[in-house]
């Protein structure tokens, strides 16, 4: 380590490193994309769509937990508000094109997110989690009481309709590629956000909030925006889910759903882009497999055990663990 | 133990602490690389060194408060590598940590009486209040409402009550006004006269030099030099080199 280091040199090596890493990530993403495109040929498309919807939900959630350091225990409220709005509009106004219903659902969730954020943002850590939980309980109460949600029967028979009035979404394959496209859009948006100048500030806030303030950042504004985007994407996931399954129910609004998305994110790996996707796929698949088999009545206990094991043994999640392994063995 | 038996290391008196080949780790990082030191009863020994040299870690390792350790630590001739921290304290060791560790939810008196008495011969509450009148005045205020200097006094006073006869003191002058630093110096001299063994980690060499019998210089987790008070002048430049004074 000599004193005669030329800053420009260091700079160049860094750029090279960055480039090669970008290339590696690009390749990985392309491979995954190819897999997703051919997947419905070998697997049941509706099941894949379910995974994609939850993956989008978890990705949205992770923007908050993983990249902003805020634990929301109320994300079910956004999933459900997206789902109900879309479901209600599509059933009430028949002929409304599907994408409009989805956009409306996303918007409502976004607005609700803004409301949550304005109330909760002044608190940190566990208080933040508890306030979001309380707010989502109020939303749950609202959904139970309102007539447009169909109470505990939920909304059903929601028409899938047509995309842009052209593509018939009742066909599972069409529907699948539509969901895939929306999912990718959401995923890429989050990826972009994380790498953006804004994402850099989020990272800074997560690591040392007082310092970020002293550098002139109005941290609450940044957090609110992150929260709102996350809520909007969660709403989008809910809207998509409604269209896929043609129903919206109170389940989406229950606090267990908020717990489930935490599990997905944690299991896959918080703070990684791919983690929540992997986590969602894992959990959805696991729940399906268990519910079919002889262990059906043990689902809760098994999910609980997975929670415990994840927290105890690999907090960095599946993707985090793989990354660590790669770093060690590949360098 | 009279203060007369100090200064020469060679002269074996009662050996209160012997650390040999001590390694310590925080997770994956290897902090101490084989510390060897001996402290006799009634001695005041300092650990000097740059930031991050591992002085605080040495004290913590003696208390078994670091991640992982290897080597040997004998206190009063007893091996303590496998002892839990609370057992070590009961051997008569009093530890005053780097950041004072005043409990905010307890008031001054509760803070004072918190550490259990580990052996007889500790100071009584009255004696402590006589020594630190400020603490008596503020005995009912919550710990975190004290000024920095008072907190430091409290941290020190707290372990005097327990009857510990070996004190591990980490940077007790840090962030204190010069008047208070002076006062602390007087307190340490008094304690030494009472025969307590003291291991002092100090940044403030000016404070430590007139008090100590011997100095160990720590660098990169190892003892690189030992200087007794009488050798201070002859090894001055050597010390300056190590400490960058």
């Amino acid at each position: 380590m000599s004193d005669s280091v030329n800053p420009a040199d260091i700079h160049k090596t860094m750029l090279d490193q960055q480039k090669s890493e970008h290339r590696r990530r690009l390749i990985l993403n392309l491979v995954l994309l190819a897999l997703l495109i051919v997947a419905p040929m070998v697997m049941y498309p509706v099941f894949l769509m379910k995974i994609l919807c939850f993956a989008l939900f978890a990705v949205a959630f992770n923007l908050l937990l993983g990249f902003t350091g805020l634990l929301s225990f109320g994300h079910a409220a956004f999933l459900a508000s997206g789902a109900y709005t879309t479901g209600y509009l599509l059933t009430t106004f028949s002929g409304l094109s599907t994408e409009l219903g989805i956009i409306a659902g996303t918007l409502v969730a976004t607005l609700l997110g803004l409301g949550f954020a304005l109330v909760a943002i002044r608190r940190q850590g566990i208080y933040f989690a508890m306030i979001t939980l309380a707010l989502s309980q109020l939303v749950f109460f609202f959904f139970v009481q309102s007539s447009f949600t169909g109470g505990e029967d939920g909304l059903h028979g929601i028409p899938r309709g047509q995309f842009l009035g052209l593509i018939d979404l009742n066909d599972n394959l069409n529907m699948y590629y539509f969901v895939l496209a929306v999912f990718l859009a959401g995923y890429l948006l989050v990826q972009r956000i994380v790498g953006s100048p804004y994402g850099q500030v989020l990272k800074a806030i997560k690591q040392n909030e007082p310092r970020a303030i002293s550098l002139g950042y109005n941290v609450n504004r940044y957090k609110i925006i992150a929260f709102v985007i996350s809520a909007g994407l969660a709403g989008l996931a809910g809207s998509m889910k409604t269209v896929v399954f043609q129903l919206a129910s109170l389940n989406d609004a229950h606090w267990h759903m908020s717990g489930e998305v935490i599990l997905m994110t944690l299991l896959g790996g918080t703070g990684t882009l791919l983690g929540p996707v992997v986590g969602a796929a894992f959990v959805v698949n696991l729940e399906y497999q268990l519910s079919q088999g002889p262990l059906a009545d043990w689902v809760d206990a098994i999910l609980g055990a997975i929670f415990v094991l994840t927290v105890l043994m690999f907090q960095s999640g599946i993707v985090g663990q793989v990354q660590k392994f790669m770093k060690k063995n590949i360098g | 133990m009279s203060p007369a038996v100090q200064n020469q290391v060679g002269k074996k008196d009662y050996e209160q602490l012997r650390v040999s080949g001590l390694h310590a780790f925080y997770g994956e990082s290897h902090i101490l690389h084989g510390i060897d030191l001996v402290v006799n009863r009634g001695e005041l020994v300092t650990l000097l060194g740059r930031n991050g040299a591992g002085r605080s870690t040495t004290l913590k390792a003696i208390m078994n408060m670091v991640g992982r350790r290897t080597g040997s630590i004998m206190i009063n001739g007893e091996e303590t590598m496998s002892c839990a921290p609370h057992h070590i304290a009961r051997l008569g060791v009093g530890f005053c940590p780097e950041h004072r560790g005043i409990f905010a939810s307890l008031n001054v008196e509760e803070n004072l009486t918190l550490p259990p008495v580990v052996r007889s011969g500790g100071m009584s509450l009255e004696e402590i209040y006589t020594m630190f009148p400020n603490l008596y005045e503020r005995r009912a205020s919550p710990g975190n409402k004290l000024s920095g200097g008072e907190q430091q006094m409290l941290a020190l006073a707290r372990i005097l009550r327990t009857g510990a006869n070996m004190l591990l003191l980490d940077e007790i002058t840090e962030g204190l006004a010069p008047v208070i630093v002076e006062k602390l110096g007087e307190v340490l001299m008094k304690l030494k006269r009472k025969g307590l063994t003291i291991i002092l980690v100090e940044q403030n060499f000016h404070f430590a030099a007139p008090l100590a019998d011997r100095h160990y210089v720590v660098e990169h987790g190892q003892i690189v030099e030992e200087v007794s008070a009488s050798e201070l002048d002859s090894k001055r430049s050597l010390l300056n080199g190590y400490l960058g004074v």
Binding site: A134, V311 | L106, V118
Partner: protein, 295 residues
């Protein structure tokens, strides 16, 4: 008969009293949570499940060993307290010092496991537990009929709450506990066996939950999901009171019981949501809760 908002005053008195009784119950449950959070900084999501375990244990002890109500009031909390100590020793200890979120998730998982296992063993319909004979019947207060058991619940619950508060705020042991939560390592350096203290504290908080469960057994249907319903409400109580504030948990518990009772009188459908509404309002006005220390 005079009326308030269309409700006879006598009825209102009755409702207030019932609210108070329920509040004492909430106080007992939230106290355990507050002890565990205040002293150990653990968000104990398993609290509801352990409350349920207390009630189940009371029933099962009676069914299998014929242990009476009075004995169960001691034995069940101790047994469940041991379960708590085991949870602390084998699980929570492994993640000590990490972000609170992890203890929350860990105990959430533990709650799922406990509830899942008991569902498989005992079904969901509930277990039967009959009221001890001394408590059969009740007294006529003029404005309402008060079952003896409810009177007993409020007395014993408030006694236990007060005793706990006294122990933590006014005794040496309490001082150890409070100090241990600030810097457990240093406490250990003073010669105090902190790991033991932590286990016992968690066990104690759990015991309070189980005690509430044992008290609940004769009056609520004892089912594996009885805890999951009440958990979220009790959390809200603790947050409103100010997390970690012992006195806050007790007072807020009683207060929320009354608030809920009044809602049940004037607008029943909102009675489960009202506490969350209060919570949002309180936190908006006083971010650290009614009795919480300013952060």
């Amino acid at each position: 008969m005079s009326m308030i908002l269309g409700v006879p005053v006598a009825v209102l008195f009755g409702q207030l009293l019932l609210g108070l009784i329920n509040g004492a119950f909430y106080a007992l449950l939230s106290l355990g949570l507050a002890v565990i959070f205040g002293l150990l900084k653990i968000i104990n999501f398993a609290h509801g499940a352990l409350y349920m375990l207390g009630a189940m244990a009371t029933v099962i002890l009676f069914d299998t060993l014929g242990i009476s109500y009075w004995a169960a009031l001691f034995v069940a909390p101790i047994l469940v307290g041991c379960v708590g100590v085991a949870i602390e020793y084998f699980l929570l200890r492994k993640i000590a010092g990490q972000d609170h979120i992890y203890s929350l998730l860990l105990t959430f998982g533990v709650a799922l496991i406990i509830q899942g296992v008991l569902t498989n063993m005992y079904g969901v319909s509930g277990l039967r537990y009959s009221m001890p004979d001394v408590f059969k019947g009740g007294m006529n207060l003029g404005f309402m009929f008060l079952p003896y058991y409810r009177a007993w619940v409020i007395v014993i619950a408030l006694l236990v709450c007060f005793g706990t508060w006294f122990m933590i705020e006014k005794t040496k042991l309490g001082a150890y506990l409070r100090a241990g939560t600030e810097d457990s390592q240093l406490m250990q350096g003073f010669g105090i066996n902190v790991p033991l203290l932590v286990s016992l504290t968690y066990g104690f908080g759990v015991m309070l939950a189980a005690f509430a469960g044992a008290l609940a057994a004769p009056i609520y249907s004892v089912t594996p999901d009885m805890g999951s319903h009440i958990l979220i409400v009790v959390f809200a109580v603790v947050v409103i009171g100010g997390m970690g504030s012992i006195a806050g948990a007790i007072i807020t518990g009683v207060l929320m019981g009354v608030v809920e009772g009044l809602t049940k009188t004037f607008y029943p459908p909102a009675s489960s949501a009202v506490i969350f509404l209060v919570m949002v309002v309180v936190l908006f006005v006083r971010p650290s809760g009614l009795f919480g220390k300013e952060a």
